[in-house]
Amino acid sequence: MSAVGAPLLDVDDLVVRYPVPRGLIGLLRRRPQLAVHAVEGVTLVVEAGELVALVGESGCGKTTTAQAVLRLVDPLSGSIRFQGDDITQLGMRALRPLRRRMQIVYQDPYESLDPRLRVQATVEEPLLIHRMGGSKGERASLVSDALARAGLSPPELFLDRFPHQLSGGQRQRVAIAAALVLDPQLLVADEPVSMLDVSVRAGVLRLLEELKASGLGILMITHDLSTAARFADRIAVMYLGRIVEEGPAGEVVRNPQHPYTKALLSVVPRRDPRMRRRPQILRGETPDAVRIPSGCRFHPRCPIAIDVCTTEDPSLRRTDSTQSPHHRAACLLA
């Protein structure tokens, strides 16, 4: 029933806001209701078998985007299509079967597993929730399969363990196994490795890479550009609720168009001591998502901003100096 050829996930002009509490006095004085503009018109596509990385500073709206995609927060406007079906307005009940097909993996492997449940129970839970997997025996084999797919083999070694008996990497794998057991088409991974030790990060990332190869669409949120550059097919750079640059990973890293992307890339520390560079540091903190600057939202921090930037809000478009047709940036000067 899904449209043939439609992308796995197609997000168009998504807007999400969180109201700011006004307080009693504010209410009485009829102060205007303010809102955090967490996501302000995000457009994004994830194809099956593709790993898209969403990068950006803290608070720019990455997690909110992910949650809106999974319909865990309600978008204000815009549309979300999953395999061609518009799921923006679906109710709780109608969403249930859909939940199976899109899964999320959270950042903190130490928090994302119930400390009181054994691996077996954790991985089995999604099946129970969706009343799937048939008999007990069948479920057990599904659980083992999922664990094996997540790189925990032989599964028997892990089934009876509690989370605290696992290393961080193993926990994250269990979390991924619990997401895989329902055989989803889309996996959203919100900073899947940022809490892990460097020594085990690669293992988890390579697992994602493998899953992608097997046809899963993955939306990975990260703030680490080196990771994104290494593992993602495409990178979308977010700034203050909006995607400011988007394109094939290599393109974006090697040939950044937006000054923000450039700055981000320049501050990534390199592991070779001989490669010391002077980073191009943006001054000031991430601006307030409640009061978005007029014009180009990046202009107050932009090193190359000109007058027109304060008034005109650039849209995401192909720029002259890009090679790939899919490389787009939202900068008047690019």
Binding site: S112, T122, Q165, G169
Partner: protein, 318 residues
């Protein structure tokens, strides 16, 4: 590329997971104060359970003169009805404990339910329930108990209900706070994003996590309930047909035991109440301490780290 990913070996040796009973047990094992409390409380509970068999005399048998002094046959003397004090203590502990446990059960059910509902659902439900809790928190509870006991009549059942109804607030608050934090745990979010129902989340993920705290709170509530029962009895609002420890104190007080020199009618029952409450507090306090990670390290303390003699192993040449 298709590297088979293994994470072999080097897995931390499996150690037993602290189960709910385990936390109670571990705390008792590790902290001497909790152990003392547990032993004393168990002794009292055993004596209370076995009251019909171990009480030396009948609960209503007048076995000597009013306020008979301690003797070989009555080591703690007699009360104002000529009844053996040891017998009264054993039976009294039984009733006091029943009230303590039953009232605590009531308050746990109410407080637990309200705490879970408020903490789990948050928002309006939370504010309404918490306002109600706040109200209960500000009503002066002993006076209210007096009123209610006077209105309903002094029966054990009413006392249990009244105490239970007044004690749930602290439970509700503690549980709510804990549920609120558990609710934000990632695995709960994950279960929700999977489409799990509220009941499933509450019973499978939230409650087990809250349980240890609930146990600690229960033990402390038992102490308060026993205390309140004693106070109510003392004010003449206890059930006159049931001999609780509070009732024993009240009887002695009403019959001027002190001025007639019969200290034995008034000192032991109060001391026994104090011991029971103390035991509960020791256990509950130790549990709370154990469960509160913020209490574990004090960065400033009269004690400092110790120095050990040098070991000397690696060479430090550069």
């Amino acid at each position: 590329m298709s590297v088979v990913l293994h994470e072999p070996g080097a897995v931390a040796d499996p150690e037993p997971v602290p189960s709910r009973g385990g936390i109670l047990w571990n705390t008792i094992r590790r902290r001497p104060s909790a152990a003392v409390g547990a032993v004393v409380l168990s002794l009292v509970v055993i004596a209370a359970v076995l009251a019909p068999w171990i009480a030396p005399y009948g609960l209503h048998d007048q076995v000597g003169p009013v306020f008979g002094p301690p003797s070989w046959s009555h080591p703690l003397g007699l009360d104002d009805g000529g009844i053996d004090m040891v017998t009264l203590l054993v039976w009294g502990a039984r009733i006091s404990l029943v009230v303590g446990f039953a009232a605590t059960l009531v308050s746990m059910i109410i407080g637990g339910a309200i705490g879970v509902l408020a903490g789990y659902f948050g928002g309006k439900t939370d504010s309404i329930l918490m306002r109600i809790t706040d109200y209960f928190l500000v009503i002066p509870d002993v006076p209210l108990m007096i009123v209610v006991a006077a209105i309903w009549g002094p029966s054990l059942f009413h006392i249990v209900i009244v105490i239970g109804i007044l004690l749930w607030t602290s439970t509700a608050r503690v549980i709510r706070a804990q549920v609120k934090s558990v609710r934000e745990r990632v695995y709960v979010k994950r279960a929700r994003s999977l489409g799990a129902g509220h009941a499933r989340i509450v019973f499978r993920h939230v409650l087990p996590q809250v349980a240890p705290l609930l146990i600690a709170n229960t033990v402390l509530t038992i102490a308060v309930a026993i205390f309140d029962e004693t106070a109510l009895s003392f004010l003449g609002l206890g059930d006159p047909s049931r001999v609780s420890l509070g009732k024993v104190i009240e009887n002695a007080f009403q019959r001027a035991a002190i001025s007639s020199g019969a200290w034995w009618a008034i000192v032991p029952p109060g001391a026994l109440v104090a011991v029971v409450i103390l035991s509960c507090s020791l256990i509950g306090g130790a549990l709370e301490d154990a469960l509160n990670p913020r209490l574990r390290v004090a960065h400033v303390s009269a004690r400092t780290f110790r120095l050990r003699p040098l070991v000397g192993r690696s060479d430090s040449s550069l």
